[in-house]
């Protein structure tokens, strides 16, 4: 900052032209901090607490990547982004990684030139209505006024769903979740729609959560995942395998509680050994230290721990694992093998 303030003008063209394709990994290491794009505040996924510390499920991913690359889960600069600014922030290099409930879609991947490294939450768009309306299915919503949080794929899904069911509705696009909530509670709209996880999180903050129901229809597939820029495959690999490490760790029973023991010496499960760097050279292949995965998991726990701590059933948000259970438990989480 200090230099860019008054030396920014002096950073002449010659200096800059060569830096065009510097590897993200080197940049992050040189900077000593990971710039991670998150939402401006969605409880459970990424929100600053009263002391300004970011907390949440997406934040956990950022911290894990920082721990894997830099060995320090706190070496993260969280950059709050809106739906409007997130892609530019990533494309222009302002952030190294975007972990902001971003749906993996074809056009974002192909047309906007981003690489989605995986899915950290399988979501779908749902509807919430007050119980007193007596609505039990989204198909009964003909003529309803619907509050939508803008800047997501929500508007498109909603338009598609209502069009395919041939029912009419009136959209009310709202910028922030807090304001959408206010509109909904005041009765300015009958229905509030956004990702089902977001609905649950919102309902949890209501004065009387029991007076509102989530409708059974889930009208879209919303695989939410972290993404990086196209073209820097090494960096993409690091983020992808950090996420996979968290998932694999849960599958293999590696938790933040027992990871110190397991990593101290090679055990008898070769995959755990490879994961934790006590066997093989996976870290070296990736271009990071051998104990990268150990650091990543120790940062906030494995996938299951992150889930339970931030959005699980014990939290006010109270999401069940559902699709986000391990494949062994009937969910969709399936990490490729560490080999």
């Amino acid at each position: 900052m200090k230099k860019s303030l008054f030396l920014g003008a002096l950073t002449v063209a010659g200096l800059a032209a060569s830096a065009a394709a510097a590897a993200t990994l080197d940049e992050v290491k040189a900077r000593g901090k990971l710039n991670c794009g998150v939402t401006t505040g969605l409880v459970g996924f990424a929100a600053p607490d009263a002391n300004g510390n970011w907390e949440g499920f997406d934040v956990g991913v950022c911290r894990a990547v920082a721990a894997a690359v830099l060995g320090d889960p706190t070496a993260v600069e969280f950059v709050p982004t809106t739906g409007k600014t997130r892609f530019t922030a990533l494309a222009s290099g302002e952030i190294d990684l975007l972990a902001r409930n971003t749906t993996w879609t074809f056009s974002r991947d192909v047309d906007l030139k981003f690489t989605f490294v995986g899915v950290n939450y399988y979501d779908g768009q749902g509807f919430m209505v007050p119980k007193e309306l007596g609505v039990s299915s989204a198909t009964e919503l003909d003529g309803a006024t619907v509050c939508i949080q803008t800047g997501t794929t929500t508007e498109l899904n909603l338009a598609d769903y209502f069009r395919s069911n041939n029912i009419s509705y009136e959209p009310v696009p709202i910028e922030t979740n807090a304001e959408a909530q206010q509109q909904y509670l005041a009765g300015a709209c009958d229905v509030y729609t956004t990702d089902a996880s977001g609905l649950a999180a919102t309902r949890a903050t209501f004065e009387a959560p029991d007076e509102h129901v989530l409708l059974p229809e889930i009208v879209s597939k919303e695989p939410l995942g972290p993404l990086v820029r196209h073209g820097d495959n090494e960096w993409g690999d690091i983020v992808r395998w950090t996420l996979n490490a968290l998932i694999t760790a849960e599958e293999l029973g590696v938790t933040s509680a027992n990871i110190a023991d397991m990593a101290s010496a090679a055990g008898n499960n070769p995959e755990i050994n490879r994961l934790l760097g006590t066997e093989g050279t996976l870290g070296e292949m990736l271009g990071v230290s051998a104990d990268w995965a150990k650091n990543a998991i120790a940062a906030g726990g494995n996938y299951g721990e992150l889930f339970e701590k931030n959005i699980g059933e014990a939290t006010p948000i109270g999401l069940a694992r559902g699709l986000n259970a391990q494949w062994t438990d009937g969910g969709l989480l399936y990490s490729p093998p560490f080999r």
Partner: protein
Amino acid sequence: MSDIHAHSVAFVRDTQLPPAPPPVAETGVVKWLRENLFANWANGLLTIAALYVIYLVASATVPWIVRGVWNTDSLAQCREVLDGVSGACFSVISERWNQLLFGFKYPSELYWRPSLAFAMLFVAAAPVLFFDLPRKLLIFTGLYPFIAFWLIWGGSILTPIVALAGFIIGYFVYERLVTGSFAAGFFGGVATAFAIWFIGGWIIPDGAGLLALEQVPSRDLGGFMLNMMLGVVCVSLSLPLGIALALGRQSNLPLIKGVCVVFIEFVRGVPLITLLFVANVMLSYFFPPGSGVDLFLRVVIMITMFSAAYIAEVIRGGLAALPKGQYEAADSLGLDYPQAMRLIILPQALKISIPGIVNIAVGLFKDTTLVSVISMFDIVGMIRGPILASTEWNGVYWELFMAASVLFFVVCYGISQYSQWLERRLATDHR
């Protein structure tokens, strides 16, 4: 005869009567009421209507404010305390006061630094605002930006010192060369300053520890402090730029005039919010890759451009208001363009423009709230973002926006009162 007369007049007053009190309707409160509130029936109706409006507003707000709760931990507790009665939940302000002022990321143990910088702002601004104060105070004003930068962002004191040194040495070079020609002085000064900064850029990393305050990245700035900083920084930066643009627009060099006209009309023609979008989503594409110009700086650039265009128009008005004789007198003295501008025209034109500039400054300060739309956490951004999104305070609107309104009102009303005072003062000077 006289006897008769004496008998016919029953009583002759030989002392003067004490003056009777004026009629009740023509004195004191009643007179005032009659003249100011009930002069005629239409006026009376207006008064009654106004009283009714005041009653409506007061009956809705006063009990609500009086019943306000100041010390609970969440909205739910407020509702418990109030027990169904309508009342304000000011606890959110007392609990989140620091966040409203400083944003949620500025380290709380460092709050004294921006507070000190804020206090020093008054000292620094005083000699600019009030001409009667000793001129020597202006030295502090000159030093203030560097001190404030050091206090707010932290880091080694070398950074502001090098910056300051660049300015000072550049100024001396300018002083030296300006006697020859203004252009030589100006460009010489600028070149020297850049040279100093460039050399300084090499030194700073070595002396990084010197008198270093803990660094705070500009992303961590927030709350009302951010509004204040954007307002103060952008207005001060846009003044010289605005003067240059105004002179450029008056210039008779077609190219320079054209560039200035296009710039001014373009910036004035688009809403600030689109310029902020530019800062947020476009500007980073225009910088060299990897230069990492942060959002704060980009926003400062765009808001400065915005206010410079408006200030340029105000100053142009001031330039146009000067009698032509002033320009001609300067020419006939044999002054060249820079001398005429510096010594004759600008001092007078700027003086005329001050009230207009202050109005622009107030407007700009209010417009800094728009940065909340591009995910910066100024005071409105703090309210709409982290505070309303938190589980404790979800649903508190009035109290928070009231607090923000009061803060803005105090500052803006203060400045506009100053501007009016100044206008009166400048007006008497002309008579």
